[in-house]
């Protein structure tokens, strides 16, 4: 082999192992799933033995009220949780962005919740939500209030609280990093011009943080659709279908009802939903950037 050939092949050699693994265990399975979603597929069959049923799986899901219930639970869960986490996380970052000692210790303690296994988070929160000996109800009783049936009566609220506990720090850390990398000159100028803290936040800090905040929100939103274990341990999707998010329903359809074709079709619906969301967010940021550029341009024209 000549030296030139070697250097032309080098990038491919660097990329080959990763590409091979991803093709084998990521892209091929997803293609396989799309193919399988058009089949009547039982877990004991290999896919070549299954029967082609066309769009039947998709149509059946489309007509299935339970599927739509899961679908809406998923959307409600993801959007509520992300909205609350953004509000709390950004708020705390704005509040705690000061020169205080021990900030690094604080940050260490705050990232603890997200490093712990979701399964364990579910375990602890299930204990805390327990109706008789759970921490919350014991506290409520200690101050003379009635206990609340958290997981029985307010299941969706309970799983949301657990998720907010685990993931608000993520948004807090990222917005704090964004805040601390803001240009000091702009803040300084605002302060000299006599802007109140509120005015500084609304007119300077938030707009400057916006690009990072949007990426953070997108990442968190994508992750919110991946949440499964916490809910599985906390409520198992119940009572009824009140907390059965799509990911959980896919797992149940595949393993309890043994309908792999239907589970595959459901996975595709979820993928399409995520794709639309991601593309929508990207389009939105593009549009906003373009608008900002246009406004700036117009302002310069006038000036």
């Amino acid at each position: 082999m000549t030296r030139q050939n070697v250097s032309r092949l080098t990038p491919y050699m660097f990329i080959a192992p990763a590409a091979l693994v991803m093709i084998l265990a990521l892209f091929y399975p997803i293609g396989y799933m799309m193919w399988g979603s058009f089949r009547d597929w039982d877990p004991s069959q290999s896919i070549s033995e299954t029967e082609f049923v066309g769009m039947q799986n998709y149509v059946r899901l489309w007509m299935d009220a339970q599927f739509w219930e899961s679908f809406s639970v998923t959307l409600i869960f993801a959007f509520t949780v992300v909205a609350v986490e953004m509000f709390l996380g950004v708020g705390l970052a704005l509040l705690l962005d000061r020169n205080i000692r021990g900030m690094s210790v604080l940050r260490t303690l705050f990232i603890l919740p997200m490093m712990i296994a979701p399964v364990v988070v579910g375990l602890v929160w299930r204990y805390m939500f327990h109706q008789t000996y759970g921490t919350f109800n014991r506290f409520l009783e200690a101050i003379g209030l009635d206990g609340i049936d958290w997981l029985g009566q307010n299941p969706l609220l309970s799983v949301m609280i657990a998720d907010i506990w685990q993931w608000t720090p993520f948004i807090f850390i990222l917005s704090l990093a964004a805040l601390q990398s803001l240009p000091r000159s702009a803040l300084e100028a605002a302060r000299i011009d006599g802007a109140t803290p509120w005015q500084q936040i609304i007119h300077i800090k938030l707009p400057l943080m916006a690009p990072v905040l949007i990426v953070t929100m997108l990442l968190r939103l994508i992750d919110a659709f991946k949440v499964l274990e916490v809910i599985l341990v906390l409520t198992g999707g119940g009572p009824g279908l009140s907390t059965e998010i799509l990911a959980l329903r896919i797992a149940r359809t595949a393993r309890e009802f043994r309908e792999l074709g239907e589970a595959a079709a459901m996975s595709n619906y979820l993928l399409v939903l995520l794709m639309v969301l991601t593309l929508g967010m990207f389009a939105f940021t593009r549009w906003q950037e373009a608008r900002a550029r246009r406004l700036k341009f117009a302002a310069e024209e006038e000036g």
């Binding site: 080098t10 192992p17 990911a247």
Partner: protein, 311 residues
């Protein structure tokens, strides 16, 4: 609300911080405390912080690898020790493989101009949004059927030659089967993070090494890798965390002998009599991530911000 602009803060500010700290580590402390209590004490709630700590729950959890037989146990039902070893093997090997493959790919994507580069980096980004639940069906189907060792042709044969396995029929139920999914699942994220670190390595360093006669692989392993150590540390913690904590795909693939700790916890969580024991297993599962957090929080935060801010 606390006032700004002063070095000395309002007492309300410190109260708020104390409350936040309590809220974030409270549940973890609760887990630790309960894992040291007897079941009776957990449910009765008497005493609060005043109780006699016992390691009995840990003895029950670890009974299959203890060198002595705990007195209070008649027989050993929870096989936690074995699951712990499985989790360690799977998490460590998949982290190592993901990092090696990931940093090579990231390097190629940043440094070389070649066909398909843009589409590749775009697709690694797109793949990040795929939830594990979506992979459940195909992985279950493939690992049990197509990726089997009795396939004498194509992918099955290739996997048999490359990964080995236990001489069993399928990839499902082997450590390598689970490792393969985890590596594939984590690669996009690792590539994305490491890219942002490799971009910062000055090109002149590499050129100098090349002038001295180093080949591309030598340049990569001896010059570039040592410079992106912080990135590697961050990426490895995140990969380890996901592989260590993951439940869904492992539960679809593992059998009795390759079961990981999260599966064991979910399987036993519904039995209410072993509340203390299950808390102890939860605590044991949480220990490695807690250690990482305490000793490498700077790397974790670097990795998190590199993923979002520079993305």
């Amino acid at each position: 609300m606390a006032d700004t602009n002063y070095e000395r803060q309002n007492p309300a500010f410190y109260a708020l911080i104390a409350l936040l700290v309590f809220m974030s580590i409270g549940p973890v402390l609760l887990l630790l405390i309960n894992s040291l209590k007897l079941d009776v004490d957990i449910t009765s709630g008497a005493g609060g912080l005043l109780f006699m700590p016992t390691i009995r729950n840990y003895e029950t959890a670890l009974c299959d690898i203890l060198w002595y037989e705990p007195e209070h146990l008649r027989f050993c039902t929870i096989r936690f020790g074995g699951a712990f070893v499985n989790s360690l093997i799977i998490a460590l090997i998949s982290t190592a493989l993901t990092l090696i493959f990931g940093c090579m790919a990231a390097y190629a994507l940043v440094r070389f101009k070649f066909m398909g580069r843009d589409s590749l980096s775009l697709s690694t980004l797109a793949v990040r949004m795929i939830p594990p639940a979506v992979l459940l069906v195909p992985v279950f189907g493939l690992w049990n059927n197509s990726f089997c060792l009795d396939n004498d042709y194509g992918l099955g044969a290739w996997i048999r030659d490359t990964f080995g396995g236990r001489g069993d029929v399928c990839l499902a139920g082997t450590h390598s089967g689970i490792i393969l999914v985890y590596v594939a699942m984590n690669l996009p994220f690792v590539i994305w993070i490491l890219q942002s670190f490799i971009v910062q390595v000055p090109k002149s360093l590499e050129e100098a090494a090349r002038v001295d006669g180093a080949g591309p692989f030598q340049v990569f392993f001896l010059v570039v890798l040592p410079l992106i150590k912080p990135g590697l540390a961050a990426a490895s913690i995140f990969t380890f965390r996901i592989a260590w904590n993951e439940y869904l795909l492992a539960s679809a693939l593992a059998d009795r002998d390759t079961m990981t700790v999260p599966i064991l916890i979910v399987n036993n969580a519904s039995e209410f009599d072993g509340l203390g024991t299950i808390m102890a297993t939860g605590m044991l599962l949480a220990i490695p991530p807690i250690l990482f957090t305490l000793f490498a929080s700077r790397q974790i935060i670097t990795g998190m911000t590199a993923g979002a801010v520079k993305g």
